[in-house]
């Protein structure tokens, strides 16, 4: 039994994690790498607290708050978490510099939930060479789940390719004669998701009749949307970041183009995108989800979301809880705590990776029912299932079954 946990007065909060069980090695087997000791576990993190992507930094604030709660409740197997989170301003150069600082000066045990594809790509080789875990990188780029080449790197959220495959399955099942037009951002997000879509369509990839990409420096993307409409497509997949997503939704409505409109997950946030584009313009949009929506009344009695809201009330009362980043940060932090708990007293970097790659059927409070974290020595993509949702009124409504989009191992 995890003896330290028994003393905790807040057992309810960790009930889920305890229930899933784990191994607590005896004191005799204590093993530490830099960053771990009898009293503390040092965790490093990079967040864009400043700069253009600073909206995502809520993830870091939530994670910080979550670890504070864990510490208040006695820590992990009696050890306090020391969460060292630096600003990288979403700049790869700064990310490298700050990561060196984390590893060489602060001597963290691992780097957790660094934000964004560019930063994670920049630090991946360095951390791999130093054999420091780059755990639950906050990006959906597929390259962060490649255990053969990067055994120290693991993502968390569904990879973009998985999302593409899920849309492919959904379209083939509901609109087998579809003509698909794709607008994508010309970067890892766009290319990965498009690849997943093509792979998912397989022999029917010719269903994609038009593709157009845009650069994030373009002021408006009206011209692209017009061109895609002219292709005669009846399905439109918008692989876009928030500003362009909102522009595309509004433009499509204005030119009265009403295809089956698929908005990818990164920009499905009601607060940050849909409400800005206008609810009227967004009726009937479909997207996919893996997290519960904090604003969705159907989770009012859900024990997991009740814990989430109780946590926010106590530790981050000023955070906008409808922001998807809050749910994201909570889920990722909870997942890390689970890994550390399972690692017990063997807090070596190798054991952390081993535990992270042995999660089966683990369900953080915030994941949708039927979606779990599953990893193995050859599968470094923790979440690979999604459920479709449709925008109706002023919120997303889930529909259909959970769809698996597992990538080939």
């Amino acid at each position: 039994m995890p003896r330290c946990l028994l003393r905790l007065p807040f057992a309810a909060l960790l009930a889920a994690t305890i229930a899933l069980g784990g191994v607590s090695p005896s004191a005799a087997q204590k093993a530490y790498d830099p960053g771990a000791s009898d009293t503390t576990i040092k965790i490093g993190n990079l967040m864009p607290y400043s700069g253009p992507a600073s909206a995502y930094a809520i993830v870091g604030r939530i994670e910080q708050a979550y670890f504070r709660m864990v510490n208040d409740q006695g820590g992990i197997n009696g050890r306090r978490i020391e969460f060292i989170s630096y600003d990288d301003a979403y700049s790869p150069a700064k990310a490298v510099e700050q990561t060196r600082r984390l590893v060489e000066r602060d001597e963290v045990l691992l780097v957790f939930s660094a934000m964004g594809t560019p930063s994670n790509a920049a630090i991946q080789k360095y951390l791999d060479a130093k054999k420091v875990p780059q755990l639950f990188a906050a990006t959906g780029a597929t390259r962060f789940g490649d255990p053969a080449n990067f055994p120290w790197t693991m993502g968390w959220q569904p990879p973009y390719q998985t999302e593409g495959r899920v849309y492919a399955k959904y379209i083939m099942a509901t609109k087998p004669d579809a003509k698909i037009a794709v607008l994508y951002q010309n970067d890892d997000l766009g290319k990965d998701l498009l690849k997943g879509l093509r792979d998912g369509l397989g022999a029917k990839a010719a269903m994609i009749v038009a593709e157009d990409s845009y650069e994030i420096g373009e002021p408006t993307i009206d011209s692209h949307v017009l061109r895609l409409k002219a292709s005669g497509a009846d399905v439109f997949i918008s692989i876009t970041t928030p500003k362009f997503a909102a522009q595309a939704i509004r433009t499509a409505a204005r030119i009265e183009w009403r295809p089956l409109y698929v908005q990818t997950l990164v920009s499905a946030s009601i607060g940050a995108v849909i409400s800005v584009a206008g609810f009227d313009n967004a009726q009937g949009l479909v997207s996919a989800a893996y997290n519960k929506d904090a604003a969705d009344p159907q989770w009012r009695d859900d024990p997991g979301m009740q814990r989430f809201h109780a946590f926010l009330d106590a530790y981050a009362p000023d955070v906008n809880r409808t922001d998807n980043s809050a749910v994201y940060g909570y889920g990722a932090a909870q997942c890390l705590v689970e890994v550390l708990r399972r690692a017990g007293d063997n807090l070596t970097r190798a054991n952390i990776m081993k535990q992270a790659a042995a999660l089966q059927g683990y369900a953080p409070d915030t994941l949708l029912p039927g979606i779990t974290v599953d990893t193995s020595a050859s599968d470094f993509h923790p979440i690979e299932r999604l459920r479709m949702m449709r925008f109706s009124g002023d919120r997303w409504e889930l529909f259909g079954e959970v769809i698996g989009g597992e990538l080939d191992k």
């Binding site: 400043s50 700069g51 253009p52 992507a53 600073s54 909206a55 010309n186 157009d212 990409s213 845009y214 650069e215 420096g217 373009e218 002021p219 408006t220 009206d222 011209s223 692209h224 017009l226 061109r227 002219a230 928030p242 500003k243 909102a246 522009q247 204005r254 030119i255 009265e256 607060g271 940050a272 995108v273 409400s275 800005v276 206008g278």
Partner: protein
């Protein structure tokens, strides 16, 4: 053919954005003989001020007028505090100053209002204009505002004492001083006006591209391209340049293979370089002859 017409119409709509911005660029160029890299961020910041006032319940036109006043004062203040002390410094120092201003305004706006996109209301609504889905009443309104602004500037510079004084101060500072024009304050006035025009541009552009601290990044590059194309010394040229860039960009993206996807942004930069090489004064700019 329909696609062609649509792309031209959409190009005019986008061109109105560039024209608005180009006008502000030309305005400051007239006053200080330099391109202000922070022009876009100043406009963005003004737009946030207007947005904040509207959030507090100020009606649109009230917020609009107040923003113009504040922006004008802000522009004058920036000149007095930041650039007057640098008046005799080399041009590189000024460029450094512009970049610093750019970074400061961008970060402060991000810190204050965060980086999520915000809806900015349009006084003209967003219904289709004259039955065209491609140009909304807002975009038609924006074109009208740009033209009115252009006309106002023309009269100001041609027929008012202060306008003439400003032109004199920019063109012949030495002679202007001798006839009793306070050239230093004329520069400050130029900053104030450029800032106010930028505010108008920002408030017209924001309903189209959504308000966020980086909203002017791409716009400013196209605004520069438009100003260079039309001629940096000609407000009229800047406006025409804006529409031309908007249309050209869309047509090139649609009909030249390959450009549509990867090369849309470089079009603006290629345009700047081409014009500077082939016709440095732009389509409508006058050539400046300097006495040796």
């Amino acid at each position: 053919m329909e696609l062609f017409t649509n792309q031209v119409l959409a190009g005019i709509a986008t061109g109105a954005i560039y024209a608005c911005m180009a006008l502000a660029v030309v305005m400051i160029y007239q006053a200080i003989d330099q391109l202000n890299f922070a022009q876009g961020e100043m406009a963005m910041f003004s737009t946030f001020l207007a947005w904040q006032m509207i959030q507090w319940g100020v009606p649109f036109w009230g917020a609009f007028a107040l923003t113009l006043v504040i922006s004008f004062a802000g522009g004058v203040m920036i000149e007095r505090l930041l650039f007057k002390p640098l008046a005799n410094a080399p041009i590189l120092t000024h460029v450094a100053g512009f970049i610093a201003l750019f970074a400061i305004l961008n970060s402060v706006a991000g810190l204050t209002w965060d980086f999520t996109i915000k809806q900015f209301p349009s006084p003209f609504g967003s219904a289709p204009f004259l039955g065209s889905q491609l140009i909304s009443t807002h975009q038609a309104g924006m074109i009208a505002v740009t033209l009115v602004l252009l006309l106002a500037l023309y009269f100001f510079f041609q027929f008012t004492r202060i306008g003439l004084a400003m032109r004199a101060a920019a063109a012949q500072p030495e002679s202007a001083r001798l006839v009793g024009i306070n050239t230093s304050w004329m520069v400050a006035l130029g900053w104030g006006m450029a800032s106010a025009i930028g505010a108008i541009a920002g408030m017209m552009i924001a309903p189209v591209v959504f308000l966020e601290p980086n909203m002017m990044g791409g716009v400013l590059i196209y605004g520069f391209a438009a100003a260079v194309l039309g001629g940096l010394s000609s407000p009229f040229g800047a406006v025409i340049g804006g529409f031309l860039v908007g249309i050209f960009e869309n047509l090139a993206g649609t009909y030249i293979p390959g450009v549509g996807n990867e090369l849309k942004l470089p079009i603006a930069l290629a345009l700047i370089i081409t014009v500077l090489v082939v016709k440095p004064n732009g389509l409508f700019g006058r050539s400046v002859v300097k006495r040796v």
